[in-house]
């Protein structure tokens, strides 16, 4: 058990790919830290840097206060679960579990004790004599977890460990992972791009994009107070609706939506509205409204998703790609999504009036994408 720290770590691959860009992140002892971000943002690379499978181009990595930047994987005392599990195909489950202990010259009786303990914990007792090829996907996943657990390492590194499982098993293993962490309390770094895993499993989230750390915080914190438009769009499903707006005299105008945003400076900005902040309630003094043409309705049971268009311009979460357009131009339509009460009977082609509370409207700088309040 130990804390893990990235200190200004950069990893550059040949061909000028900067996979991890000046990452600084402290993961205290016992924390369950989730690394999320879109594909190719450098999550796996960050994990492999901790494992010692890649060497940082610059910066340093510390485990338990000790600089391990140049140590080999075997000297770091961490355990990793690979996305494809990487079980040794020529060894039985028992030998797979025991391999790490045997490498570290653990006494035979002790190896036996720990393998038995862990296999009981994960329900692998019956499978100890089998080879990986004779196991189901879920069982392989458990063996991979078990191989990490028996070592009793300083930290666990998990790279999308549930992504190869079917939906039901994933839910089950997710709960089991959480239980295991509560029981063992070992520092864990967990890479995923699954929203639900990210929100439910982690003590804290670290959101990455293009190798750069965007925000670190508890799941609620990151969801409620995203530091920039990228995080706002990435965390939350379905993603936040982003519209281009112009602020004048304390009000933001986006298409026919006009919201009171007193603290936001005058000029162009991006406003964000989560799909569940939109409702069909009658607009009153405290709420703003906008006309919404329903195109597709997706009932989810208790809730429904309505996809459709409103007057205005979409804003891209990647502000660099964007060319600012006049938000007042009423010709243009923007596609947005609303999450509404599932008991409503809405049909495609209908026009409804959506209301939103100004307190639930996010505002971001149009040029930098940083949150404005």
């Amino acid at each position: 058990m130990a804390d893990v720290s990235f200190r200004d770590v950069t990893k550059e691959f040949p061909g000028a790919t900067v996979a991890v860009d000046r990452l600084t992140l402290d993961i205290p002892d016992g924390e369950f830290m989730i690394l999320v971000g879109p594909s190719g943002c450098g999550k796996t690379t960050a994990l492999r840097l901790v494992a010692g499978l890649e060497t940082a181009t610059s910066g340093s990595i510390e485990i338990a206060g000790k600089n391990v930047t140049h140590l080999s994987p075997r000297d770091r005392d961490i355990a990793m679960v690979f996305q494809n599990y990487a079980l040794y195909p020529h060894m039985t489950v028992y030998k797979n579990l025991a391999f790490g202990l045997r490498q570290r010259k653990t006494a035979k009786a002790e190896v036996d004790r720990r393998v038995t303990e862990v296999s009981a914990m994960l329900g692998l007792d019956e499978l100890l004599a089998r080879r990986p090829a004779q196991l189901s996907g879920g069982q392989r996943q458990r063996v991979a977890m078990g191989r990490a657990l028996v070592r009793e390492p300083k930290a666990f590194l998990l790279d999308e460990p549930l992504s190869n499982l079917d939906a039901k098993l994933r839910v089950q293993m997710r709960a089991e992972l959480k239980r295991l962490h509560q029981q063992l309390n070992v520092t864990t770094i967990y890479v995923t791009h699954d929203q639900i895993e990210a929100m439910t499993l982690g003590d804290r989230l670290a959101v990455m994009s293009a190798g750069k750390l965007q925000q670190v915080g508890t799941p609620q914190d990151v969801y409620e107070r995203p530091t920039n438009v990228f995080v706002a769009h990435f965390i939350g499903s379905p993603p936040m609706n982003l519209l281009q707006a112009t602020v004048a005299e304390g009000r933001a105008q986006a298409g026919d939506l006009s919201v009171e945003l007193p603290q936001v400076p005058e000029g162009p900005c991006i406003i964000g509205i989560r799909p569940d902040s939109l409702s069909l309630r009658e607009p009153d003094d405290s709420r703003s409204a906008l006309d919404f043409d329903i195109e597709v309705v997706e009932p989810l049971g208790g809730e429904l998703l309505a996809h459709g268009s409103v007057n205005g311009h979409l804003a891209s979460p990647d502000t660099r790609e964007e060319t600012p357009v006049l938000a007042a131009d009423s010709e243009s339509r923007a596609e947005i999504t609303a999450k509404l009460d599932g008991r409503l009977r809405l049909k495609a082609g209908e026009r409804v009036r959506l209301a939103v509370h100004p307190g639930e409207v996010y505002a971001f700088d149009a040029a930098t994408g940083d949150a404005l309040r």
């Binding site: 075997r74 355990a79 690979f82 990487a86």
Partner: protein, 294 residues
Amino acid sequence: MATDTLIRPDRPLDLEAVPDRRPRHWPFSPWHFFLIPLALIMLMPLIWSVITSLETASEAQRFPPVLIPKALHFSNYVDAWNSLPFGHFFLNSFLYSLATVAGNLLFCSLAAYAFARLRFVGSNLLFVLLLVTLMVPFQVVLIPTFLIVRHLGLIDSVGGLIVPNLCGVFGIFLLRQFFQSLPVELEEAARIDGASRLGVFLKIVLPLSAPVLATLAIIQFMWSWNDFLWPLIIITSPEHSPLQLGLSMFQGAHVTNWNLLMAGTVMSQIPMLAVFLFAQRWFIQSIAYTGIKQ
């Protein structure tokens, strides 16, 4: 799937429409009409040499060959064995083959692993250079090799046969291709589990490479066992001769004892046959393996 297409309520049952690929009356494929004669043609030299080995000396001399001898002279085998030091020949051939198999397995796998997984300056260039030497015919390097072996004082000894053949480029190439196709995560997992580079190689890579190692062993065994040219160059005394060179002693300047020569040849092929039959399953599997990398 067949039932799916057969029982479809929207269409009347049409048995004629279902193609039956098997011809009704022949228990074998028509291809056999072509393949069996071809196999016979390929087997002809082998059959001929076995027949010759059982004929009298005069029958064996005849041309066109006598394919149905009057009697089967199994005593030819005893005569052949007694007329030359076959015990020595077999021993030398076994020494030569087993030592080169061992050498190739050891050195080629180490070199191949380095080329497959370790990053070092000039590794690609070095590998290409090695491959280029595959295109150089043995005759070109024969004299330099001879000179080196003479410097080592190994002329006319089994050691002189073994040393230049301890590590071959073909083996390095074959194993490197295979090692590269192994999932790298297995090795990474083992390194995280605490294995050293050598430990990863010995405990993960080699056990997973059994089929390709068997292939290399067979190919090398066959090659050494059948090698004639190199022994011919450096071996002069019969007691250091391997089989193939020893057999040529039946070929005198004026007469050749064809029946004895063939008896010896048939005997010399028995170990080869045994090795091949024993390992052919692995052999074929991994030759196919090298073609389909993931």
